[in-house]
Symmetry: C2
Subunit: 287 residues, 2 copies
């Protein structure tokens, strides 16, 4: 009756308070075939244990969240951020190798916001490009794609100076498409008048590394970071966006990634069930 | 010592709880030479009284806020919205005529959000364009410029489906530049990677109808509508934006428009003084 679509991937952030063991278990038990992981719960058990647990689960691995946050000027903090990204690249490769056939080695990158006291968006964006350039050899060597994620412009100053898909593709354009792609997350890009054109461009340029879905609804909560909803519960037109992604040639798994206090507080199995139902009703008809 | 720059215009929303009489008085007393008004306080006293008060104040009139909110589908509510916009056009013309020499007849337009239950951004945007088209003859007849204001994308669903300056210019492009221009408000556009290019384009196309300044700072307050700050108190680079506006040929007054509960709660004269100081320190050096 309610078969789970094979392309649904459960992003672990949607059940933020589950540890890795629980996240894998409830995902498998719901009949979901793939999962996107976050660094913290992976590192809580250690990469070796995490990869074995992932293999045992039989799930495909879709993305690792996340790298980035490298907008700092030259100095020790920037070097540390780059080193941390190199570890994230290694984790991504290991997890992709441990996941079931069809897993993808994609590391989602969130650029980072303006450094404390800074106002120079253009300069900060250049530093993002430089940092990615430094990581490309590592990504190529590991067979990992860095997926630059444009974040909604309300996060411009404190989380991400990359705000549009076009801008992410402009940054990616300098680099080998095997190493640098983009993340299309409906929540972050649906408002953009150019989004459909840029999704098509991402396909043409071989950069569409991952597609993530969740919904937008107002009023926004007091913490705007937690304003994501189940697909279908808000105002996003998943039809036009999903068809554009399909037309762009994307055939991979599709993650549902939700930051939302109420959803985090709910029982994990119920969250996975609601996620699958929202995906089935709002997204699957357009695949 | 602390002369107020002659191009500063006090937008009445910055002292939201002042009635028209008080707003004019504290603006004049502070040595500010121009004011942007809002429809509600003008209509509280009636247009005839408002125009006389404005003339008596000796202030220049810079913009009327605001028209728009016409994203509804065909029907009585849409007709009512258009009629209301026609009244706003008449008010704008009357106020501009009543203000001191150098006043400008500019009606700021905020498009409106998605209608209840709607998800079709593209269709909603087309309705905005159609509505503006219906108002152009009225605007031309009255000598009023409709200034389409792109709002930050965090207001996409509930306030404004026009999110970028490029999009506003695309909408304006179909119409006579005497009748349809754009509003450049730093808060709404500073994040846009294309903003400097689009400001230059606005100048080239003769569409830069008004320049408004206020600042962006995080964390955003619980009501994101009230997240505007005095120029200089946040992260916006007023240098690059203001120089772009100057280079685009804009020679008009510059409004400071702030929605902020703390600023609204402060004493009006202190707010005008702080506004003038922020403008002097953050904006004037780039004029």
């Amino acid at each position: 009756m309610n078969a789970v679509d094979p392309r649904l991937s459960m992003n672990q952030a949607t059940i933020k308070y589950a540890n890795l063991e629980t996240a894998l278990e409830v995902t498998v038990d719901a009949g979901v075939q793939a999962i996107g992981l976050w660094r913290e719960p992976v590192n809580d058990v250690g990469l070796d244990v995490a990869t074995r647990m992932l293999t045992d689960s039989g799930l495909r691995f879709t993305t690792h969240c996340r790298g980035g946050f490298f907008t700092l000027p030259d100095g020790p903090a920037r070097i540390a951020a780059l080193d941390d990204n190199r570890r994230a690249i290694e984790e991504t490769a290991a997890l992709a190798a441990a996941g079931a056939a069809g897993s993808t080695a994609v590391l989602v990158l969130v650029a980072g916001g303006l450094p404390e006291g800074a106002r120079d968006l253009a300069g900060t964006r250049h530093r993002v490009q430089d940092a990615i350039g430094e990581l490309v050899p590592d990504a190529l060597a590991a067979g990992v794609t860095l997926a630059i994620e444009p974040l909604h412009p309300m996060y411009i100053s404190d989380r991400c100076v990359v705000s549009t898909l076009g801008q992410a593709l402009d940054i990616a354009a300098d680099f080998d498409a095997r190493a640098v792609g983009v993340t299309v997350d409906t929540f972050h890009v649906f408002w953009d008048p150019d989004v459909l054109i840029q999704i098509a461009r991402a396909g043409r340029e071989g950069r569409l590394a991952t597609y993530q879905v969740c919904d937008w609804k107002t009023p926004l909560p007091a913490d705007v970071l937690l304003s994501r909803h189940y697909p279908g519960d808000g105002v996003i037109d998943f039809g036009s966006l999903t068809r554009a992604v399909v037309d762009a040639g994307y055939t991979g798994d599709i993650e549902v990634e939700i930051f939302n206090e109420d959803i985090w507080a709910a029982e994990h199995r119920e969250v996975v069930r609601r996620t699958a139902a929202g995906f089935r009703d709002a997204v699957v008809p357009h695949l």
